[in-house]
Amino acid sequence: MSSVGIESPATESPIVTPAKEGENERPPRIAVRGLGVSYGTQRVLEAIDLEVFPGEVVVLLGRSGSGKSTLLRAIAGFVTAESGSIVLGGRDLTRAPPHARGLGLVVQNYALFPHMRVEENVAFGLRARRRSRADTMAAVTRFLDLVGMGAYRQRYPRELSGGQQQRVALARALAIEPDALLLDEPLSALDAPLRAEMIEELRRLHERLPDIAVVHVTHDQSEAMALADRIVLLHEGRIVAQGSPRALYDRPPNARTARFFGQANLLPVTILQGAERPAHTDAGGSAWSPVCIAGQTLLAATTTSSPTNGRALLCVRASEFRLARPSGAAGDGSDGGARMNVLQGRVRSVHWLGATQRLLVDLGEATIRAELPERTTVPRPGETIALEFAPEGAVLLAEE
């Protein structure tokens, strides 16, 4: 679960990390190849390759304008593919109209039909398919019960809260038993507590429907982390990275990804070559490389996409830092795997955030943002301190 796919002109094609073992043997529910989309003269999606397997939750993550919603709308058939192909359930539906695609869609503002009762909303897709009345009613009951809205079938959408409307929208999308469920920012209109509740709800739903493929679009990284088997990070119409949430968090393949997840310090470093301490691979198979910042030498974890010489960026999460024991000397490499990196700097400011203390520490060449557990003895601004962190928590990335 640690391999990470990245896509940039400089590297090889992306390595997809399937969520669960053996899923590659089943054909993908959604296979997008080389998809390009333009609005007028503006290219909004470029060479997108994406596969979604049965039972997999893929989250398309990106800022607004990254193309994530356009990708979803292209899969749904509302946006015309300029190049490439979209294969759904084994059929090439690149040019098919939306109603011939058999996908369940849920959007941010729910888009329930205001003139229909809850049960008519859920029945809509089945009526469009001319299912028998008995089948339709059975499906309506089943899917409304599944989302816990069985008691509301006679209500009109305007009589429901946002969360309830979203559940009905889910039931309506699921009732057509789609090849895949497409969720376009489904939780963005909900307030924070309700959103957390709906995330749990979606997870439970997925446990009860283990075979369905889900594409979930969001700009919220915590939502993505909580729900995704695989995250696909988009930026300016391209896939920047994809992999499991943990892989992207622990070993981001590039600075953009690092910046997107958690509070990453991206420190400008120089890779040390040759004599001093050569790059090496330890017994466990991890690769390490010595780097230098503000005259201090550190050990960094490397990935296949890490640079091997010159300038680079060292990615260290704010939560990786601890105050070094006053007597502790800088790790000199003599004590093997247990060694710690140590950085010295001057405290610029301290903010209490409740669970943690946030320190800004000036290194001269860069400023570190560190979040220390609340109970640590907190240094004062102006003091010179030593922060330590494990080399495993420092990943070497290419400069942008």
Partner: protein, 267 residues
């Protein structure tokens, strides 16, 4: 709401003045018309000697009964055509470019910005030469009314479409609805209140249309307004007033029936 700061006294004074003016200008003539339609004599300031004779006379006259029927039939047919045309135009307008759309807007609005007599004359001269020999037909009357009321149907349909909640039609398509299914079950269903409002307005206007109709109505298809005009022209003011009342009643009945039908569909 109270943008103007007036004392209560001043407010009352102005309100009384406005109310009086409106009553004299709008209310009084209708009241007099009502009185006239039941009047036996009108020698003094007010019509006098109330009687049912005028109304009975109108309803007994085949000519005037026919005029009422012609109005209802013309207005009904014109309203249906205008509704179809207006809704179609508004729906198609969404897919058109900005310029074409402005052209469509203008086309629909043109007939009501031009004096109705002019519209009548224009249609008359256009359709009175071969191969467009269409004058002297009922269809031309209906066509004229369509041209005059389609604007309201179009404007209402357009306003309704603009208020259509975002994504509903996309959602319906994505759930498997064919374009025709989506149009019927979602677009038109949600547009219905707006279409009905446009229909009611168009029907009422068509029932009262005189300017264009008088230019081109064929013999044997005088509408109620035409008949009212000729009655009063001949000096039969009481009969004209009684026929006006009947026209008013017919219009109101039709609109109430439309509203009832709409309400029954909603539940």
């Amino acid at each position: 709401m109270n943008g103007l700061y007036l004392t209560d006294r001043a407010r009352r004074l102005w309100a009384t003045l406005a109310l009086t003016l409106c009553t004299v200008v709008f209310g009084l003539p209708l009241l007099v018309l009502l009185l006239a339609s039941f009047a036996g004599h009108w020698d003094a300031l007010w019509p006098s000697s109330p009687t049912w004779a005028n109304l009975r006379g109108v309803l007994a006259s085949a000519e005037e009964r026919a005029a009422l029927w012609h109005s209802v039939a013309t207005a009904g047919a014109a309203t249906v055509c205008a509704l179809v045309l207006g809704a179609w135009g508004a729906l198609a307008g969404r897919r058109l470019g900005r310029r074409t759309r402005i052209c469509v807007d203008t086309l629909f609005v043109l007939p009501i910005t031009v004096p109705s007599v002019t519209v009548g004359l224009a249609l008359l001269v256009t359709f009175s030469r071969p191969p467009l020999l269409w004058n002297g037909t009922v269809s031309l009357v209906v066509l004229t009314h369509v041209a005059l009321v389609a604007s309201y149907a179009y404007a209402n349909a357009k306003a309704g479409l603009e208020r259509l909640p975002a994504h509903l039609e996309e959602m319906a398509a994505s759930l498997g609805g064919s374009p025709w299914f989506v149009l019927r079950k979602v677009t038109l269903a949600l547009l219905m209140p707006h279409l009905l409002a446009g229909a009611a307005l168009g029907f009422a206007l068509s029932m009262g249309e005189l300017g264009a109709t008088i230019m081109l109505y064929p013999p044997g298809w005088a509408t109620a307004p035409v008949e009212i005009f000729s009655l009063s022209d001949r000096g039969s003011v009481f009969s004209a007033a009684a026929l006006s009342l009947a026209l008013l009643a017919a219009t109101a009945t039709a609109l109430v029936a439309l509203e009832r039908w709409a309400a029954s569909r909603r539940h």
